[in-house]
Subunit: 186 residues, 2 copies
DNA sequence: TGCGTTATGTTTAGGTCTAAACATCGCAAC
DNA sequence: GTTGCGATGTTTAGACCTAAACATAACGCA
């Protein structure tokens, strides 16, 4: 019965009872249906490619950044500060909000970046207990020469999509993001 | 000049020179253009939503799994074994190939799962130095009651897309994946 | 038989993240 | 004033991953 549409080469020794390898989202869904009929596999062909693409982009970005002498976490930190405009300073809280990691992670990121003289903490000029994290000249220089490398590279990765396809994809991703946020946050 | 299309509330104290917060991919691209005209921002509206969606799905899955008493790494391991069909046994190498993590990570995942009596290692029945990792009855029972919870939940998260939209999205993601693989692997 | 090569697993060092425990600071109610 | 609460940062314990160093085991071949 199993007539799986695989794209992988068949195993050298197809022992009876051994399923074929699955390496596309469709294969994974088919394998569940074969082994466990009725499994709710509707989401697999949407969720799985999104994860795989995220990993592909992340791995490629890591490769590019290694040559630039910076890691993804630091790039994220410096980017947010650079994009915020003069005076290139944000509180820990605000950095956490804009980077999707916890305040504790920001604290550690800032500690590493401060050790490398890319940012410095300044005791709160404005009220409260807030600490302002500011880009140093070295940090500004590093992000300046990293961002074009990273974004330029990623532009080539998505260049295979036509403008129409890209617009459609962006729209659908935005809709899905709204849906998921709506169903998970409240 | 800056007429940023933000969806966030304006900062309480808009000091001069301070950019508005950016919390959509379009806002991020606009912020780069405002602060650094000419930055190649073409990819941002594709790559960023993919990462954010990946994180939304991962966080939600972690929530569901916490109640089921299993973590995402273990779910991944047991799922691959369960989907492979009887006799629910695969080598370390093959597990690494199907889960997108390194062989070292598999070694550790298997060690944890073995400690919890979810799988057991069997000395190579077939040739070589290969170690077969096999699902135990407890592991089989755990994956059986976890997979419906996870996939059922995710089905509701993508239920807002019409069948047509879902097909279009799947197609575009597949095309992008092919492109990116082609440009990064060789 | 002896040796080098290749494939496979495991271990270890280092890095990063989250969750939770702590530590402050400002402020409001009284 | 002072007591308590809420917001903000930092620290720490635990989890998990990668890369690289180590082990073995099977093979090919002289």
């Amino acid at each position: 019965m199993p007539d799986p549409t695989t794209q992988e080469p068949a195993p050298e020794d197809p022992r009876p009872g051994t399923a074929a390898p699955a390496h596309s989202a469709a294969d994974i869904a088919a394998a569940w249906q074969r082994e466990r009929p009725g499994t709710p596999t509707d989401s697999i062909e949407v969720v799985t490619p999104i994860w795989w693409l995220g990993k592909l982009f992340a791995d490629d970005r890591a490769r590019v950044l290694r040559e630039a002498g910076i890691d993804a976490a630091t790039l994220d930190l410096l980017s947010v500060l650079r994009r915020s405009g003069p005076p290139y300073a944000l509180s820990t809280r605000e950095l956490a909000r804009r980077t999707l990691v916890t305040a504790g992670a920001i604290s550690q990121r800032v500690a590493r970046a401060e050790r490398d003289d890319l940012v410095h903490r300044s005791g709160s000029p404005a009220g409260g207990r807030t600490v302002l994290v500011t880009l140093t000249p070295a940090g500004h220089a590093l992000i300046e020469r990293s961002v074009d490398a990273v974004l330029g590279r990623e532009a080539t990765l998505v260049a295979g999509l036509t403008p129409t396809e890209r617009t459609t994809l962006t729209t659908l991703l935005a809709k899905l993001t709204t849906d998921v946020r709506h169903r998970t946050q409240p």
